[in-house]
């Protein structure tokens, strides 16, 4: 990594970005299945949103419960602009629309941030919650702009063609989104390298010392907040382009919770964390969401467990293993990990099946048969109940017993003479 003082960008620091661009270009030709491009579009939008959220939570230490507001407002304006373009009142090619959304997000962030970033921590979180609720409630009653319950819809294909492309197919939209994902991610990375981006970390960790260095912590938070609002607005416009509709659902508390969830699961401590989180979360949402109507419960439980036991998220879990890797002791962990994997899986499968079974009996009690993991069985017989309870209990018992072994192996693998961890 070149130091910040060098003004020229070395080629080697650009390599990861070129690889990312290449991957983005190749993806739609590898995954050609019907729904895969739709899912990838969703992932792209979530990536931009989660990355922008992490500018607040991960890099600036500001916990926002209303980040979806900036995305939603950017999206609503984008749809309106799309409709104005359709009436040929202004000329704007579709690929530039995210810029409009971004500017809207930036605009609202400059207004709201001017008073909400005075304090970090709980006060900031509460203001974000209040603003989020206020705007979500306004959404229902101001029908001219927000369209009430049914929202506002538009038509992206009516914009003037860009180099002959009219963005009719999902694939064309994919490249538009991929382009903006790359640009925004790159810009957000550059932001972390600026003095303000660096100071944001300092303000997060120790605001007092940051002030002594000569930076106003409020100003640093404000700049981060505005930047985050800008990129959230871009995500909103991308959402508007992809789905051509925005409703109250896209900016309410639930939507903000989704952003928090995706970002946190990926890991807030690392630049790549939100990307991992966005990909995984969207995949889970679309894949598991099709299989069960309890997916929100599962993600919620996983989220709670992660906050309790794995606060660094998935990327954090990965990064933890760098130390044993450097010590050359990663091999010591393979055996205990594979040992706990089997009872752990049995426990999870058992618990999930039991949950699904209870849900089935409670809410679809009239249907006698149900299918779980490609096996059809009778819910009235005692056998599935017994099997699932045994699975859960046995899996839990052995996982707990083996967890001790894993802990011990972990201690051995990371043990360095004279260093306490």
């Amino acid at each position: 990594m070149p130091s910040q003082t060098t003004s020229t960008i070395s080629f080697s620091s650009l390599v990861p970005w070129l690889i990312a661009a290449l991957v983005l270009c190749v993806m739609p030709f590898i995954f050609t299945g019907g729904g895969s491009i739709t899912i990838m579009n969703q992932i792209g939008i979530t990536i931009v949103l989660a990355m922008s959220y992490n500018m607040l939570l991960g890099q600036g230490g500001m916990l926002s419960f209303g980040h979806a507001v900036y995305m939603g407002l950017g999206g609503f304006v984008a749809v309106h602009v799309m409709n104005i373009v359709e009436n040929q009142e202004i000329w704007l090619p579709l690929p530039l629309l995210p810029l409009v959304g971004g500017l809207v997000g930036l605009g609202f962030a400059t207004i709201i941030g001017s008073f909400s970033t005075r304090k970090a921590g709980t006060v900031f979180a509460m203001i974000s919650l209040g603003i989020g609720e206020l705007i979500a409630a306004c959404c229902i009653i101001i029908t001219v702009f927000f369209g009430g319950e049914e929202g506002i819809s538009g038509d992206r294909t009516m914009a003037p063609p860009t180099f002959g492309v009219e963005f009719i197919t999902q694939k064309e939209v994919y490249f538009l989104i991929a382009f903006w994902v790359l640009i925004s991610t790159f810009l957000m990375y550059l932001f972390t390298q600026t003095p303000v981006g660096k100071m944001a970390n300092a303000v997060r960790d120790n605001p007092e010392r940051a002030e002594f260095v000569g930076y106003s912590m409020r100003w640093v938070r404000y700049v981060s907040f505005c930047a985050a609002g800008f990129f959230a607005g871009i995500a909103g416009a991308l959402f508007a382009i992809n789905f051509e509709i925005l409703t109250e659902q896209n900016l309410n508390l639930g939507a903000s919770f989704t952003v928090l969830l995706a970002t946190y699961i990926g890991g807030v401590g690392f630049f790549l964390g939100p990307i991992v989180g966005a990909i995984l979360f969207t995949l889970l949402q679309t894949v598991i969401g099709l299989q069960t109507d309890l997916w929100a419960l599962y993600t919620g439980v996983v989220f709670i467990l992660m906050v309790m036991f794995m606060p660094a998220g998935l990327t954090g879990l990965f990064a933890m293993h760098i130390i044993p890797w450097q010590l050359g002791r990663i091999g010591m962990l393979i055996k205990p990990y594979s040992k706990i994997f089997i009872p752990g899986t049995i426990f999870i499968v058992g618990a999930v099946c039991l949950t699904e079974l209870i849900n089935h009996v409670r809410h679809h009690g009239d249907e006698e048969f149900m299918t779980l993991f490609w096996v059809e069985f009778n819910t009235r017989s005692i056998v599935p109940w017994g099997v699932f309870i045994i699975f859960t209990a046995v899996g839990f018992w052995f996982s707990r017993a083996l967890a001790v072994e894993v802990k011990e192996a972990w201690g051995n693998a990371t043990f360095v003479e004279g260093v306490r961890r």
Binding site: T122, L129, A137, V144, Y264, I304, M308, R362
Partner: protein
């Protein structure tokens, strides 16, 4: 005039209900420095537990047992969840309670379904207590009022006059010193968290029959409770009380006076547009006070935070 009295009573009942939640929330906040975002979820749990119990034994057993179950659950959450997350800092704690809110909401839907449950007030309270020209007040509402007032008085007495209350108050400001004096401060924390959530549960038990018991009830009231706590000033019990009553009346009065924005515009001398439903300012003409009612608390919140960031009664530096 009668309508005003009825609204005053209704608003008072609603405000005291809000206070039952916001008092626990404030106590927990001033103790742990953490806003329990899942507080309203415990309120909902109280209502659902009471409903489940009332299907077997009737209303009165549920009134006693459901809040106790919620208290134990709340204490468990503090002991096994929050205390663990506490070591990571305040932000993960907030995230934890926020996530807990959604999990409890999903769990309630998982167990009791997405529709409302038929949780009703007891037969013995199904009569009209007050009959005024403008409307009536059912006896159940008077019962709610009495329970809330009793809780308020008890809470005040315990905190201000008893030994336990003194330990709690001391533990709020100087936990280390109190611990050095031989008191089990983590136990006090757990107890306060449990009792706070238990109070929320009790609020749910008595509010369930009157405000309907459905999975969205936590969300509906929860966000208003946070408004109360923040408007009153984080950590101030008096502030929470005043703000709860204020918002209770604000919402009740806004809901019962059907003043349209159009009437005001007409009175100001503007002309009514011909095709109001296609007019660019149609919302200005068609909005009514009951429609704006739900956003008034948030508006108040934002205004208070802008002009008086520490709340009405909060300390300057929090």
């Amino acid at each position: 005039m009668d309508l005003i009295i009825i609204n005053l009573i209704d608003g008072l009942i609603y405000g005291l209900l809000l206070f039952m939640l916001s008092s626990g929330l404030t106590l927990i906040f001033s103790m742990m420095g953490v806003l329990n975002l899942s507080h309203a979820a415990f309120y909902m749990l109280g209502a659902y537990f009471a409903y489940q119990i009332s299907t077997i034994t009737g209303f009165w057993v549920g009134l006693i047992v459901a809040p106790l179950i919620v208290t134990v659950l709340g204490a468990g959450v503090e002991r096994y969840g929050l205390r663990r997350v506490h070591q990571y800092g305040h932000v993960p704690e907030l995230i934890f309670t926020f996530g807990l809110f959604f999990v409890i909401e999903e769990l309630v839907q998982y167990v009791w379904g997405r529709n409302m449950v038929p949780y009703n007030s007891p037969e013995s309270l199904n009569f009209i207590a007050l009959n005024l020209a403008g409307g009536t007040i059912p006896a159940y509402k008077i019962f709610m009022l009495l329970v809330s007032v009793a809780i308020f008085v008890t809470l005040y007495y315990v905190l201000a006059r008893t030994r336990i209350g003194m330990i709690i108050q001391a533990a709020l400001s100087y936990p280390k010193t109190v611990e050095a004096l031989g008191h089990n401060v983590p136990l006090v924390f757990m107890g306060v968290f449990g009792v706070g959530t238990g109070l929320a549960g009790l609020a749910g038990v008595i509010a369930g029959p009157s405000l309907t018991t459905f999975p969205g009830m936590a969300f509906l009231l929860g966000s208003i409770v946070f408004v109360c706590v923040v408007v009153g000033g984080l950590g101030s019990l008096t502030g929470a009380f005043v703000a709860s009553l204020l918002i209770g009346w604000l919402q009740t009065f806004a809901a019962s006076y059907n003043i349209g924005a159009g009437d005001i515009l007409l009175a100001m001398g503007y002309e009514y547009p011909k095709d109001v439903y296609y007019h660019p300012w149609r919302d200005l003409w068609t909005l009514t006070l009951p429609q704006i009612g739900p956003i008034l608390p948030y508006l108040l919140l934002v205004l208070v935070l802008v002009f008086r960031p520490h709340g009405l009664f909060g300390k300057r530096e929090s």
